[in-house]
Symmetry: C2
Subunit: 420 residues, 2 copies
């Protein structure tokens, strides 16, 4: 763009934003705090406290164990809501269950069992740690090779990178649709098609994609996916994760953790495990109902927002951030550590700086801007489009340049990375 | 005892009950409802709604991602509370994490890996379904034999039954301390010692024991245990489960689901998985914080109640129930389906009746008494000692005899078992 964007321009963007009204659906407890970490923990939906209180007082406190007649289906019902309004999947293809890590373990193991003879698992070398660790464990347990795909820290993988790495020995490829660090975005359809041609399954981690970019699992022919619900989906801290298995594959895949929620005719409690005929076979144990309850109001907003409008706004917020970073932060030693092309980027932007860890801390404590740090030297800023305004981006980067220009962060002790 | 207990006698027992005041710590929303299913879903502690609302509004809504600096330790901290006041374990031996099923899978796999060469898993033939299904899966995946121990449906296994089944090929024994159906209680110390002598691990399922009987994991030399927190521990529907690993074993065991919460120095996000040196290595993914939050006030009451006093009251409630069943229900076609000796029984009692399924339903809908049905023909009644009065037991059995004597249940359609 020409010249640096003014705050007035940001205000005008907000005034014209068709999603602006949705900010009121969230609790904004500290109006002066700029929250750019919805890609780590989404904000509290305004409807959640009362909904949760009703579930606690009425369904648990009063109706007690009788409520299981409705709770029993929640994982499935919330999965169908996600399928319809967030993931572009068909009914009966998604369930909410366990953590992302446990779901990834289940589906990765199921996929490996379905590709006997093939000995290689491919993963992005820069994949989110839990995915790499889980696959390392599965590979060691099965005597397979875990091959990492070298990946540019800023630009991420391309479809060509993945295609070139595929061969007849690859059983499974695990990739994030949106990279947790750089925000780089992969083409789900093209990668899935390339892998299918090579006879491999792709298991997508959608944690940073779900609710921020359209993933269109059905249209893209995706086979397997998992993802979390506490980032852009606003399900609350550690909210249960989802898993997706393409309908046509469900009957042929078996997951390794054979719990009673995956059993056909669960309450007959029969002598032997027989997997449910459908997506329920990927469930395991009794689900955490209070955490599931918080997902209900959180997901309700997505039908109204529309994932395409969220994507458009997310791209615009990111572009504003990149433009301001170019103008204000490059002179202060920052470099863009995300793809510059907004079509190649999810809804968060990373900036590299040698002192990023201290800057991220000072930004929170001294400037009221919450982003986070990621190794080795990244400041990650995620303007979640449901509740972030253009002026928030403008103000956040204004505060950031001021803080770094004044060297405020240099007064903080050098420390180790920890939870944000 | 001599003669059938009168309601007056039950009232006198309540008046003398040192735990009677603890009933006020729970929400009793419908005073006329007699709730004898705390062994399935414990009642709502009175302190839970406000505590949970504060976590939602303040910690999530206001403090947002910054709260992870405290949330990150909750699984460990709640584990230490359980260790001290419920399980008789040492600090650093218990964590709250995942579901009981997932925890059982993790610890069973870890134990099997630690006993290479041994080819047999032993399980009670009447073990809770999810445990049997999980072990069936592990055995099939590893080419091991899952051997079931024939078990009396009413009396459960004895130490001798287990000892006689042990041989040099047994790697792992999975048993419930208290059987989910009959309530039969096993001697944890004697079974653990017998298995250790035979070179096998015992993995205890404490779901129906934790909070109702003293399990004294340290004193009994127990190696491995899992259990749920939504029964006698009142953590709420599907509350996260616990796992216990004896301190001396932790460094030598590795579990198969290698997620980032089990990683040493988690937020360095290093290239390879290195398990944490302690009990944290048995964690996997991001825990469901709202469900964990509900456990905090639920566990607080146990320090005050004392597990020995709860056990004493649980035995007394069970004895009253058995005495009344003998007097009133045997003539109506019921038989006791639990051990008669209260020292061999946990805190619930099962009664067999050919029409138990319809009786359990009618008891809820027509008599305001909540128990539950278990296959094949069991009515299960669990008077949780924290909040159940002696008069509740008296009134419940009085309503039950009246209902069956009048044949009320016979007007209900015959149906399939389902969730209660």
């Amino acid at each position: 763009m020409n010249g640096e964007p003014s705050r007035r321009m940001a205000e005008e963007r907000d005034a014209a934003d068709p999603l602006a009204g949705l900010r009121d659906r969230f609790v904004i407890a500290e109006p002066d705090l700029i929250y750019l970490d919805g890609n780590s923990l989404g904000r509290l939906p305004a409807a959640t406290p009362d909904h949760l209180a009703r579930v606690v007082r009425q369904e648990w406190g009063t109706d007690l164990v009788r409520s299981w007649s409705t709770w029993i289906d929640w994982g499935r019902r919330l999965g169908d809501t996600l399928a319809a309004h967030v993931l572009g999947a068909r009914p009966g293809e998604v369930v909410v269950s366990d953590s992302t890590s446990v779901n990834l373990y289940k589906l990765a193991a199921a996929a490996l069992d379905a590709r006997p003879g093939r000995r290689t698992i491919l993963v992005d070398a820069e994949e989110f740690p839990t995915d790499r660790y889980l696959l390392q464990g599965l590979a060691e347990q099965r005597g397979l090779t875990l091959r990492t795909l070298p990946s540019d820290l800023d630009e991420g993988l391309t479809v060509t990178d993945v295609r070139d790495a595929l061969d007849g020995d690859v059983a499974l490829v695990v990739l994030s649709a949106v990279s947790y660090r750089s925000g780089s975005l992969l083409d789900l359809g093209a990668v899935t098609a390339a892998a299918r041609e090579a006879g491999a399954y792709v298991l997508w981690d959608l944690s940073h994609a779900a609710g921020s970019v359209p993933v269109e699992l059905a249209a893209n022919g995706v086979d397997l996916a998992v993802g979390c619900t506490y980032k852009y989906l606003n399900g609350g801290p550690g909210a249960p994760a989802f898993l997706y298995v393409r309908r046509e594959l469900q009957g042929g895949l078996r997951q390794p953790i054979q719990g009673w929620f995956g059993q056909r005719d669960q309450f007959r409690m029969g002598p032997r495990y027989e997997p449910a005929p459908d997506v329920d076979r990927f469930l395991v144990g009794t689900p955490p109902i209070l955490s599931l309850a918080a997902l209900e109001p959180a997901l309700a907003v997505f039908a109204e927002a529309g994932i395409d409008r969220l994507r458009a706004k997310g791209m615009a917020l990111g572009e504003l951030m990149v433009d301001l970073a170019d103008a204000w932060l490059t002179p202060l030693g920052f470099t863009l550590a995300s793809p510059r092309d907004p079509r190649r980027r999810g809804s968060h932007v990373s900036l590299a700086h040698p002192d990023a860890l201290r800057i991220s801390r000072a930004l929170i404590s001294e400037a009221g801007v919450v982003g986070d740090f990621r190794t080795p030297d990244r400041l990650r800023l995620g303007p979640a489009p449901l509740y972030t305004r253009f002026v928030d981006v403008w103000d956040a980067l204004d505060r950031l340049r001021d803080l770094v220009a004044r060297g405020v962060h240099e007064q903080l002790p050098v420390a180790s990375p920890r939870v944000t």
